[in-house]
Structure formats: C-alpha cells, structure tokens
C-alpha cells in the first residue's frame, strides 16, 4: 500500500506545482447575477415586509401590522369572506381551470407529436410551430382576441346570424372566460414541452410488447404512457400553476381590470408606494407558491428530467 501511495504522489507531483483554476469558477458571473437580482431582492422583500411606512418613505421597524392588515376580518365568521381569502380563492380557481385545460390539450398535442409523427424532421418542424408563438409578444396575443370575442366580434356575429342568441354575449370578453382562454392560449406550451420530452424517452418496445400481449389503445395510454409521463406532467403543471398564481397582466387585460388577483394587489400597493404592505403580500404569495411546488416535487426528481 505505502509504495503505491508514494508512487502515485510522485507521479502526481507536477500537478501540485501547477495552480489549476477550477472549471466551477466559470459559473461565477452567472451566480453573481442571481445573488444580486434574485437572492438579495427576495431577502429584502422578506425583511421589508416587517417595516413601517408613510406617504413618502419606508421606515425600518419590526412590526406585524402589514400582515395583520392583510388578514383583517378573515377569521371572524359573522361577516362574509374577507377580500384576501376571496382573492386567493378566485386565483386558485383560475389555476385549477387553466391547469385542467392546458394539461388535456398539452398532453394530446405532445402525444400526437411523439407517437404519430414518425420522421424526426417533421417532429422538429411541428414542435417549432407550437413554440414560435412563445417567442412573440404576450400582450399582442391577448389583444388579438378582441376582434373575435368583442361585442361586435366574429363569435358574436356568428351567434347572432345563426340565431343561437338574440343579443350580443357580454361574457365572451373582459370576463373570467376570456382570462382562462388567454391563459390556455399563452401557457399550453409549458405543458407540451416537458410532456413531449417525457414521451420521447419512452422505449417504444414497451408499447409494442403491451400491444402484442393484447392491450388496447386506451390500456396502453392509461397503464403505460401516462405513468411514464408523470415527471413531464408534474413539471408542466408547476410552470402553469405558478405563472397563473402570480399573474396580474393577463387577468388585468383580459379581465377588463375588473377581476382581482394577488399579483394585482401587489401591483396597486406598489403604485401607491405602500412598499412594505406589497412586500407582505409578496411573502405570502411566494410561500403559497413554494408550498404547492414542494408538494408537487415530492413526486419526482427534476434534475433527472433534463
């Protein structure tokens, strides 16, 4: 043993005199961006949520007033539900409905791309076709629903001309419906990509084996494809749910500035310079979002999925 160690260290001697910078250092600039623009801002948000404020400035302090204000009247059962709970309930509903539709649509688009398109070139081309809108402006994609859903829009024209309804339908635009529609329109891609990725990893011979053993299409889908796609489904769900949780732009534009959301409360409080109050709301929103993600990641190991 000893001669071996000596031998090894002699052969390694030149390395001892060479100072070799670690490759890990290459990640330093990347890390610095996240320390300065991600980590510190989030810590400051947490700290400032305990500060006091007046019209002009924020005052260092350690008070719970900002949190108390958020939950005012929330725990007395004589009144109606408080504004905060109502807002969260409405946000959760948007999450759930959007999650449902993006999952169904995203799954079947990915299913088609992964299993029915045989040539790799076509697969890439069609996948790109789904991705391109992600690289264009969200605001434009939202307002592009106006000519279709508005009071004099194409859908109402169709309803009126076929006699389905006698008056223009107002619920089509600037409503919960149009908000969900826009979410599905904007974020289904977040489901397609990870689910498609999972599906591409499925060994086709497993499916063939099942088919040869007499499983029908539905059994294969339910017992093989869906369980093997679980990681992709979870990742997609995390993306869709978190993006809806914190949204204030889509709900603002598509809801006609009438529908409340947590993001919007934070936004409004910021515009009135009530920064510590906004920070307290942000802390609660972040906590709930992380809680949801934590529950979902219990199911998979994200790092293996890349």
């Amino acid at each position: 043993m000893l001669p071996y160690i000596i031998n090894k260290s002699i052969f390694n001697m030149p390395n001892l005199f060479k100072i070799k910078p670690s490759v890990g250092l290459l990640s330093l600039p990347y890390s610095l961006v996240f320390i300065f623009f991600f980590f510190i801002p989030l810590v400051l948000t947490f700290v400032i949520s305990f500060w006091d404020y007046n019209e002009y400035s924020i005052i260092p302090d350690l008070i719970l007033e900002n949190y108390r204000y958020i939950f005012e009247n929330c725990f007395s059962f004589e009144n109606d539900m408080c504004v905060t709970f109502k807002t969260y309930l409405s946000t959760f509903m948007f999450c759930l409905i959007t999650w449902f539709f993006t999952l169904i649509i995203g799954f079947f688009v990915a299913y088609f791309l992964a299993f029915y398109v045989n040539s790799l070139t076509w697969q890439i081309a069609l996948f790109l076709l789904c991705t391109i809108p992600f690289w264009t402006s969200n605001v434009i994609r939202m307002i592009s629903w106006i000519p279709l859903l508005g009071r004099n829009g194409l859908v109402n024209d169709f309803f009126l001309s076929t006699g389905l309804t006698s008056t223009p339908q107002e619920w089509l635009l600037y409503s919960g419906f149009s908000v969900v529609l826009a979410f599905v329109h904007l974020y289904t891609l977040f489901m397609i990509v990870p689910i498609f990725n999972s599906m591409m990893r499925i060994d086709k011979s497993i499916i063939e084996a099942a088919y040869d053993s007499g499983a029908n299409g539905f059994q294969i889908l339910w017992n093989i494809i869906i369980p093997l796609c679980k990681p992709g489904i979870v990742i997609g769900s995390i993306f869709v749910i978190t993006v809806v949780m914190g949204d204030f732009i889509t709900i603002g534009i598509m809801g006609g500035q009438q529908i409340p959301s947590i993001g919007k409360i934070i936004y409004v409080e910021m515009s009135y310079l009530q920064l510590p109050a906004a920070a307290a709301n942000a802390v609660i929103l972040l906590f709930l979002t992380l809680l949801i993600i934590w529950i979902m990641t219990k199911m998979i190991d994200i790092r293996k999925e890349l």
């Binding site: 990347y30 402006s137 434009i140 004099n152 978190t242 949780m245 500035q257 890349l306």
Partner: protein, 290 residues
C-alpha cells in the same frame, strides 16, 4: 399500434390542426385588421384596405413615443441576448463537473423560473430604492457634490431592468446547455486533449463548433424573451418604458386599429428574428454534418 390508417390518427391530426389554428388564428386576425382603411375599427368587417394605420404609427399618430420605446427594446434585447449566451455557456461548462455550490445554483435557476414575476419585480425595486437612499445618505454626509446635485435614482433600464430580465432569460440558457451536454460525446474532446490541445483550444476548436447550433437557440431565447418581457421589468424600468410596457398601457386607452398596426410590426420583428435564428441554426448543423 400507432398506424396511420386508423381513426385515432385522424382524430389526432384534426386535434393538432385545431390547436395550431387556436395558436395562430387570433394573431392573423389582427394582422388582417391592421391593414384597414382610415375608418376602420377594432372589429370586423374590414373597412377598406390600406396602410393608413402604419403611416399613422410611423408619424407618431396619437400614440406615445413608440419609436424610442421600440429602439430601447431592441437595444436591451441585444444586450440581454449577448449576456445570456456568454453567462449561460460559461455556467453550462462549469456544470459538467460538480463544483462547490452547484446544487444551490441549480435550484436557484429553477426557482427563478417559477417565482412569481411580480414578487421578483417588487424585490428588485425595493433593492434599488434602498441603494438610492443609501447613495443619497452617503452623498449628504460626505458632501459629495455630484450626488447632492444630480443623483436621482439608480433604477433604470440598464441596471435594474437588465438584471430583472436576466433572471428570466438565464435559466432558459442554462437548461438548454444542460440538454446539450447530457447528449454530448466527450470522445472528441478527449482526443483533442490527448493530442496536446490546451483547455482553451479544445473549447474553441472542438466544443464550441459542436454546440454552436444550440448557442443560436440560447440567443433566440435571450432576445425574444427580453424583447417581449413585461411582468418582471414592469416595476424596475425607471423612466424609459420598453415596447411591451407601452403596449400594455395602450390596451386601455387606444380604440383605433393603430394598436393592431403596432402589434403587426412587433410580431413581424419577432418572426424575422425567429426565421433568421432557425436559418442560421440549420446552416450550422449542415456545415458540421451532425
């Protein structure tokens, strides 16, 4: 099983076609409506066909200073693109081996993608507000004249705005690098090293050409995500608004097709960038024959 002759196949094709229509249909309606005559409104029917609203947009029309917002967005997009490519390729190389803090950095990257944008925007705004207060305090206590006379705020497009956008674009860059290196054949690199190439030379001559097509992908993400970014930068752009921020303001005030004309122009810019990137990607792939 997945034969092209059964009904399921046709249902899937139909479903996919509907989805594509759903994705692109609305955008094409506004492109169509932006070419209306001067009497045009926000909905159908088309009132004549002209380029009136584009001319109106070009003149500045009734709208705020779109020209400079457009210029700002393009410049910021290019800066974000370059930084995203350089920083995420470097970090991607580092991640090929475990290093001190690599796990924390990985989870930070994922966390940055899923943290609500408004929370991040608020955090960065708070940070820069504290920096401002601190600068003013130092300025007055040390009697530094330029701070006392001319310092307003450190918040701005190229400080807080740039940083906030990077927290959105960099994770995409790094995740693309992960995907690239997971499928990367190390034998070329080892061969170069065995033949005596230095690490830098190995990177420049072997690794870089092999990952070049993916770098185009990262650049595409960097530019387009910055060019259209709205939620994260909404609170931290300072005085100069970017195009998406102006657009959002316009949705509540403008009632003429000029907003569609603007939409057509920015969509055209995005499509051009995408087309150039895809073309460049295919060119690099073909050149290397891989």
């Amino acid at each position: 099983m997945f034969s092209k002759k059964n009904n399921t196949y046709y249902i899937c094709v139909f479903f996919f076609a509907l989805f594509v229509l759903f994705l692109y249909g609305p955008t094409f309606t506004i492109i169509l409506l932006s070419f209306q005559g001067p009497d045009g409104g926000l909905t159908f029917p088309l009132n004549g066909i002209s380029t009136y609203w584009f001319e109106e947009l070009w003149r500045g029309g009734s709208v705020v200073d779109i020209g400079s917002a457009f210029k700002r967005s393009i410049i910021l997009g290019i800066i974000v693109m370059i930084l995203t490519v350089v920083l995420s390729v470097a970090a991607g190389l580092a991640f090929r081996k475990k290093f001190w803090g690599s796990n924390v950095l990985f989870f930070t990257t994922v966390a940055s993608l899923i943290v609500p944008s408004i929370v991040l925007s608020l955090g960065v705004a708070l940070q820069f507000r504290l920096i401002d207060d601190l600068t003013k305090w130092i300025g007055s206590s040390l009697d530094i004249s330029w701070v006392n006379d001319s310092f307003q705020t450190s918040l701005g497009m190229y400080s807080s705005g740039l940083g906030a956008q990077l927290t959105w674009t960099l994770p995409f860059g790094l995740l693309i690098m992960f995907a690239v290196f997971n499928r990367f054949d190390k034998s070329y690199e080892e061969a170069a090293r065995d033949l005596g190439a230095t690490p830098w030379k190995t990177f420049k001559e072997i690794v870089l050409p092999l990952i070049a097509p993916s770098i185009i992908g990262i650049a595409l993400f960097g530019f387009t995500l910055s060019y259209d970014e709205l939620a994260r930068s909404s609170q931290v752009m300072g005085s100069g608004n970017t195009l998406p921020l102006e657009l959002r303001g316009l949705t509540t005030t403008v009632t003429t097709p000029i907003i569609y004309a603007l939409g057509t122009v920015t969509t055209f810019v995005s499509f051009t960038v995408i087309a150039i990137s895809v073309g460049f990607y295919l060119f690099l792939k073909r050149k290397k024959g891989i």
